[in-house]
Amino acid sequence: MTALQTELKEMIIECLDLEDVEAEEIDNDDPLFVDGLGLDSIDALEIGLALQKRYGIKLDSNSEETRAHFANVNALADLVKNHRTI
């Protein structure tokens, strides 16, 4: 589980060019958008694309469910984990 979260953090750092951010600095429970890490709507689209490329996950960009999946690293990890067990 921790390995998956680290993997996701590294994916986020890489696909969003967060050069000055270390994986350890991102808290699993902290919001990724606005108040927490401070990502914006373009970043959300970029993460969506990365999830599709790496894990084959396709998300509806407007659904409430997607919003919940993108809340923090733990939520993203749950999404990837559930997708793998299907």
Binding site: L16, D17, L18, D20, L39, L45, E46
Partner: protein, 247 residues
């Protein structure tokens, strides 16, 4: 004749950061290595800083050097080709049937840098992004002078970078990334004027490529020449210091 006052200007390119650097470059015409670009963007929030590549960094760095008290003024951003390197990489991705990066797409538009600038400086004034195949600097000045009819001050950015080698046989481009930032204002002095030259009065120094255009303009800014002439849509225009007849 269109008059204006040039309140301040800066220019930034790799290894060319101060007016002394540019003066030296004009006389020695040294080659510029892109990797020597040093731009301090500490004033830009980190989450926005990552969105700037070479071209945008030059523009933001040159603007920062101006030390504007109030950056919420109308702006003109002029670039002949924009970030064609980025556009080409997106096109190559399409060619390979890859999904396009939303960030890359959003930054490949011609007003991407001015958009980021407006977010960083909370600028909600008129912003124009222009592209001109000929007379880029003059086109930018014309647009800025137009803005001066309704505003006291205008920030004018001229910025470009080399085209990717694939495109170079088809169009001229700057030999290195650079940005010029100018603040134009209107006042009673109108110390500079852009004047239409009748056919036949065209001087010897008409610029045949982006580099000589930049060199000619810098020579004028650095007081090494009396005027700056350029050709625009078949007409010749001259930028000169206004002669004070009353004096």
């Amino acid at each position: 004749m269109a008059g204006f006052t040039l309140e301040a200007w800066t220019a930034l390119a790799p290894s060319l950061e101060t007016k002394e650097d540019w003066t030296k470059w004009l006389s020695e015409n040294t080659d510029i290595a892109e990797h020597q670009l040093k731009v301090n963007l500490k004033h830009v929030p980190m989450m926005l800083r990552r969105r700037f590549n070479t071209l945008g960094k030059c523009a933001m760095g040159a603007i920062h050097q101006l030390g504007l008290e109030d950056p919420n003024i109308p702006c003109v951003f002029a670039s002949q080709h924009g970030d064609t390197k980025l556009t080409l990489s997106l096109l190559e991705g399409i060619g390979k049937h890859e999904d396009m990066s939303p960030t890359g797409f959003s930054l490949a538009v011609h007003n991407a840098v001015s958009g980021l600038f407006s977010i960083i400086h909370h600028n909600n004034r008129e912003i124009t992004a222009i592209a001109a195949m000929q007379g880029l600097i003059a086109s930018a000045l014309f647009e800025a002078i137009g803005q001066l009819q309704v505003s006291e001050k205008v920030l004018c950015i001229v910025y470009d970078m080399p085209l990717p080698s694939l495109y170079q046989p088809f169009s001229q481009s700057s030999e290195f990334p650079y940005a010029l930032a100018l603040v134009l204002s209107r006042d009673n002095e109108n110390s500079l004027s852009l004047t239409y030259q009748k056919e036949g009065e065209a001087g010897q120094h008409l610029h045949s490529n982006p580099k000589s255009e930049l060199q000619g303009f810098l020579a004028f800014l650095l007081d090494q020449s009396d005027g700056y002439q350029c050709r625009l849509n078949g007409s010749t225009w001259a930028l000169q210091k206004t002669v004070n007849h009353a004096g």
